[in-house]
């Protein structure tokens, strides 16, 4: 790793002040949460910051709570802790599964949802699940706070919407109501320790009659960044998730997917698997809508 300075501010004020100073001095600053992507990238020479700002000692980034009807997950909360949080496990089983797919047990002891999001890998497992569940990014700016939907936060391969001097503080989403369910599945050659060839997240909500009232389908690893496949969701609204509806959603998702060919899979393979997974994920989310999963 190329040389850098390391600092770990212990309050929001100190963090904001240090960011401002670094910006003023033109220091190439890199925020550190779990570091499981960042350290690998620095070891491989892909990133060479002059200053590492460790945010784990800033209390707000370690928040994990329900605030009214909003779930708040601090940006540096490790995956192992987030997935074990009762509300996450009960009301967001798809997200919990996505978190559980991040690396190994060891990686989950450190990796954070905030880091997974900021790293903005097209294949990041939690991002489609966060998008499907309508999570927003809470961002610390020089002046205060701003929020941005997760689908707007990721902007390209390894690129996010943070301006210089800004830091992701937390992720938040409304706690889902009744008759709602989410799911996430990814495709990898191995069962574990792999990077998604395709990842699909879904959140469905049914009306009183059991008809799909809203559907958010998000796709990962089939475009430069994870995104909300609106047409795929729209194909489900007003249906009961019949086979034809699933086919239509899959077709819409495959249409929206713009995958590349690389060592992990060809574009054609990815598009095809995307269609398969959309059907499987929607079916799983639908099942969760009708069981007593959602609180």
């Amino acid at each position: 790793m190329q040389g850098f300075a390391y600092e770990a501010p212990s309050s929001l004020e100190a963090l904001r002040a240090r960011l401002a100073a670094a910006q003023g001095a033109g220091e190439l600053t890199q925020v550190l949460a779990g570091g499981t992507d960042l350290l690998v990238q620095m070891k491989q020479g892909q990133r060479a910051p002059g200053l590492i700002l460790d945010i784990k000692r800033v209390g707000e980034t370690q928040a994990l709570a329900v605030d009214g009807d909003t779930l708040v997950i601090g940006a540096s909360v490790p995956a192992a802790k987030a997935k074990a949080f009762p509300l996450v496990a009960e009301a967001f089983p798809g997200l919990a599964h996505a978190i559980d797919l991040i690396g190994s047990s060891q990686i989950q002891g450190r990796a954070s949802l905030g880091g997974n999001l900021c790293n903005a890998s097209p294949a990041g497992d939690t991002i489609p699940a966060l998008i499907a569940n309508g999570f927003e990014a809470q961002i610390l700016t020089a002046e205060g706070l701003r929020t941005l939907p997760v689908e707007a936060f990721v902007t390209g391969v390894g690129k996010n919407a943070l301006a210089a001097g800004e830091v992701l503080l937390a992720l938040q989403a409304p706690v889902p109501g009744p008759r709602s369910g989410d799911a996430y599945q990814r495709f990898t050659p191995r069962t574990e320790m792999d990077i998604a060839v395709v990842g699909v997240g879904a959140r469905l909500t049914l009306d009183d009659a059991g008809v799909i009232a809203s559907a958010r389908i998000a796709l990962g690893a089939v475009a430069p960044h994870a995104f909300l496949a609106e047409a795929a969701g729209a194909a489900l609204v007003g249906t009961r998730g019949e086979p034809e509806a699933l086919e239509a959603a899959a077709a819409a998702a495959m249409e929206a997917a713009k995958p590349i060919s690389d060592k992990r899979g060809s574009a054609d393979f990815r598009r095809r698997i995307c269609g398969v997974l959309v059907k499987r994920v929607v079916a799983q989310a639908l099942e969760r809508c009708t069981t007593e999963g959602a609180k």
Partner: protein
């Protein structure tokens, strides 16, 4: 033989002598050693798959902070051609030296070009960036077809094919050709009711040991040098390193650390000559440790292979003729294991009419190294896939088809010698009766069967047995313990001497302390080094008998060794209480000195190993993903000295083979750069990918070993490739002939089914 033997400790499952050190983190592996004043070394590696080196300038690197020495190819002597003896990979010393550090040309991406020693690793790495190398890139040759094409770029401009009936007319990338055959091939095919003819392909894979290569080298002003390193053979490291450095063997002492896996990949040298040359130049000890990426880019992959196979069968399933044309990638220097591949390809079967041709082909990839039964997994993948297809088409049970052709004791192996007692038939019969085979398959599951074979080798081994003054035993031998061999040595010594297992300690010693032993490889250690331990123990017994006889003032043939003590023979008129090892050791000072038994031997009679594997696999018809649902490995061990470690060999080999079959492969860019040089994208099996691996040990004793042992380490990886592929083919409903059976490949096959 051992069937009639009543063993006291052999066949039990005691805790290995080095066990506590290894579960507590105390055991010292390759990277765990350090010396005062030690420098850290790092290697500059080629960024091209194939290029001429026009110039190298190390001035800036030498001037960089903390840098104490820089070496390039120019710092090493030219090494004359000469065969490497006794190693598992074989090959030539000149090629070995050329692989250690490039001279004139780089032959693969990752080929060592220069090395630096500095006070810290960070300084060494920084200095590497300051070495200026001017390259003239050349087209890279990355496949067998490209290498053998007319007008292919030449990797070695002086390489003339050996093994041809006429001397080669011009240089090429074809290093050697091997041909063998017997009978009348076309007559055999004319007789056939069914002919299976297919091309089978396997990818470049890596041994994947978890411990990267590491060493510490120290050169003295008296030109005496020491090396601490993780290796499968300290004596091989010594001979290879001495040769690369142009030094006498006696000037180099090699101290083996514990070894974190090798599978054949640690039977050669990479860093060791560099570390010593850096130490010589700097006057300081130098440590070198590879990164995982370097391990993938610069150390021993196993050869990719293309095998064109043709097998003819009579309607009752007898093989009437068989032909195999086998091309193996050698990597950037000659020496693929195509030789053993040609010997193994039809070894399990009686075939009157056959022809086999093997080709050793250069490509711009790392120099192939030995990998567990080198050459055999590729070969038997082809044969056992064809056998499966034949069984299907003839409507014969796949085990029955094999039984109809299986070699037995007294048959001549297609590669020459007559088989002694072998366990192929016993393994096949055990498989047919195994619950895994007789139980119904779950829906959609395919079941595959395959046979595995490996020769096993003997070679040279030494051992000493020291009896301590209280009767406890120290065994000294020279084969690094890669999977529990200290335990099997202790068991054999304890059995022979009639002492408790716990009283025997086994030391894996350095090249100045242990007698010469060839590499830990070829499945030879429990067989050959075990034989040396037994012989050295018998030497002790002979000395004990002689001392007791003299104490009792009788002749040696009037006493006998029984139950760990010397007794007067029954009926001999001597009033004496038996003398145990402890009694005699305690009196050593009055009776001829320390009890020290020795043996050195060149072991003959290694019994070949056969196996049968059963695999149940389920293919996801929508994604092509394969799940291994059940796996059973059945193998003839001759005699299992420590059954748990024999089972462990079967299980570990099975899983490496499953990885080879399903997901492992080197992925190259068009310009010859490996794109998946890490454990994230080079996908070895993880715990959640697998079921339990059931095992069944068959014991057909090997008469060539005092306790019936035959090697078990390598055979386990041979059968799984075809066992998995046959299961996948059955589940998918389409014959899979190219590995790995990754989801995209299986999905493509499903489309064409």
């Amino acid at each position: 033989m051992s069937e009639a033997m009543d063993f006291k400790v052999i066949g039990t499952r005691p805790i290995r002598p080095d066990g506590v050190d290894k579960v507590t983190g105390r055991a010292s592996f390759g990277a765990d050693f350090s010396l005062p004043g030690m420098l850290e070394g790092a290697v500059l590696r080629s960024p091209h798959a194939h290029a001429r080196i026009k110039s190298i300038n190390t001035d800036k690197a030498l001037a960089a902070p903390g840098v104490k020495a820089v070496v390039t190819g120019a710092d090493f002597p030219q090494v004359a051609a000469g065969a490497i003896e006794g190693g598992e990979g074989g090959g030539d010393f000149a090629d070995l030296a050329g692989n250690v550090i490039a001279r004139g040309k780089v032959r693969y991406h990752g080929h060592a070009v220069a090395a630096v020693a500095a006070q810290s690793r960070a300084q060494a790495l920084a200095a590497l960036a300051l070495i200026e190398v001017e390259y003239e890139p050349l087209p890279a040759v990355l496949s067998l077809d490209a290498a053998l094409a007319e007008s292919a770029p030449l990797i070695d401009e002086g390489l003339m094919t050996s093994g041809l009936p006429e001397p080669a007319a011009a240089p090429s990338n074809l290093a050697s050709v091997i041909e063998m055959g017997n009978g009348d091939l076309e007559a055999g095919f004319a007789e056939a009711a069914l002919i299976i003819e297919r091309r089978y392909q396997t990818p470049t894979v890596h041994q994947g040991y978890i411990e990267p290569h590491a060493c510490v080298g120290r050169w003295g002003q008296d030109d005496q040098a020491m090396l601490w390193c993780c290796t499968q053979g300290a004596f091989d490291v010594r001979s290879m390193t001495a040769k690369v450095l142009g030094q006498p063997v006696g000037s180099l002492k090699v101290i083996p650390s514990e070894i974190g896996g090798g599978f054949g990949g640690k039977t050669t040298v990479y860093l060791e000559p560099l570390a010593l040359q850096l130490s010589k130049k700097s006057g300081r000890p130098v440590r070198m440790v590879m990164t995982r990426e370097e391990v993938f880019r610069a150390t021993g992959p196993a050869s990719a292979a293309t095998i064109d196979l043709r097998m003819g069968f009579s309607s009752d399933g007898k093989i009437t003729a068989a032909e195999a044309i086998m091309a193996y990638e050698a990597g950037a220097f000659p020496g693929s294991p195509v030789g053993p591949g040609t010997m193994c390809v039809f070894a399990p079967y009686r075939i009157a009419n056959f022809r086999i041709k093997g080709m050793d082909v250069l490509v711009n990839k790392p120099k192939a190294a030995a990998y567990r039964a080198p050459g055999a997994p590729q070969a038997l993948f082809a044969t056992e896939s064809a056998m499966d297809e034949a069984a299907q088409k003839l409507g014969i049970d796949p085990i029955e088809l094999r039984l109809r052709n299986a070699v037995e004791e007294g048959d001549s192996a297609i590669y020459g010698p007559k088989f002694g007692p072998i366990g192929l038939r016993a393994c096949l019969e055990a498989a047919a009766a195994h619950p895994h085979y007789t139980k119904a398959k779950d829906a959609g599951v395919g079941r595959g069967v395959a046979v595995g074979f490996w020769f096993n080798v003997g070679l040279q081994s030494s051992a000493e047995v020291h009896i301590n003054e209280d009767g406890t035993v120290t065994v000294i031998e020279g084969n690094p313990d890669i999977g529990g061999s200290r335990a099997s040595m202790a068991l054999m010594a304890a059995e022979t001497l009639g002492v408790p297992y716990e009283s025997v300690r086994v030391v894996v010693a350095d090249t100045e302390t242990a007698g010469f032993s060839n590499v830990t490889g070829g499945s030879r250690v429990t067989f050959a080094t075990g034989m040396a331990v037994v012989e050295a123990s018998k030497d002790i017994i002979a000395q004990c008998c002689s001392r007791a006889a003299s104490l009792w003032s009788t002749d040696e043939d009037m006493v006998e060794w029984r139950d760990g003590a010397v007794h007067p023979r029954p009926g001999v008129n001597v009033e004496a209480t038996p003398l145990s090892l402890k009694d005699l050791a305690g009196q050593a000072g009055r009776m001829g000195g320390p009890l020290l038994g020795k043996a050195s031997l060149n072991a003959r009679g290694a019994g070949p190993g056969f196996s049968v594997n059963l695999c149940d696999a389920l293919v996801d018809q929508e994604t092509g993903q394969v799940q291994v649902k059940a796996f059973t490995a059945i193998q003839d061990a001759g005699k299992a000295i420590h059954p748990s470690y024999v089972e462990g060999q079967l299980q570990g080999g099975a899983v490496q083979g499953i990885g080879w079959a399903l997901n492992e492969e080197y992925v190259y860019s068009p310009d010859g750069i490996m794109e998946n040089a890490g454990f994230l994208d080079y996908r070895i099996p993880v715990a959640s990918d697998l079921p339990m691996i059931e095992t069944q040990i068959i014991e057909v004793p090997n008469p060539g070993h005092p306790y019936g042992v035959r090697g078990v380490g390598e055979t386990p990886i041979v059968a799984p490739l075809a066992a998995v592929a046959n299961a996948v083919s059955a589940s998918a409903g389409v014959r899979m002939t190219e590995l790995p059976l990754s989801p995209p490949r299986v999905l493509e096959a499903l489309d064409q089914a």
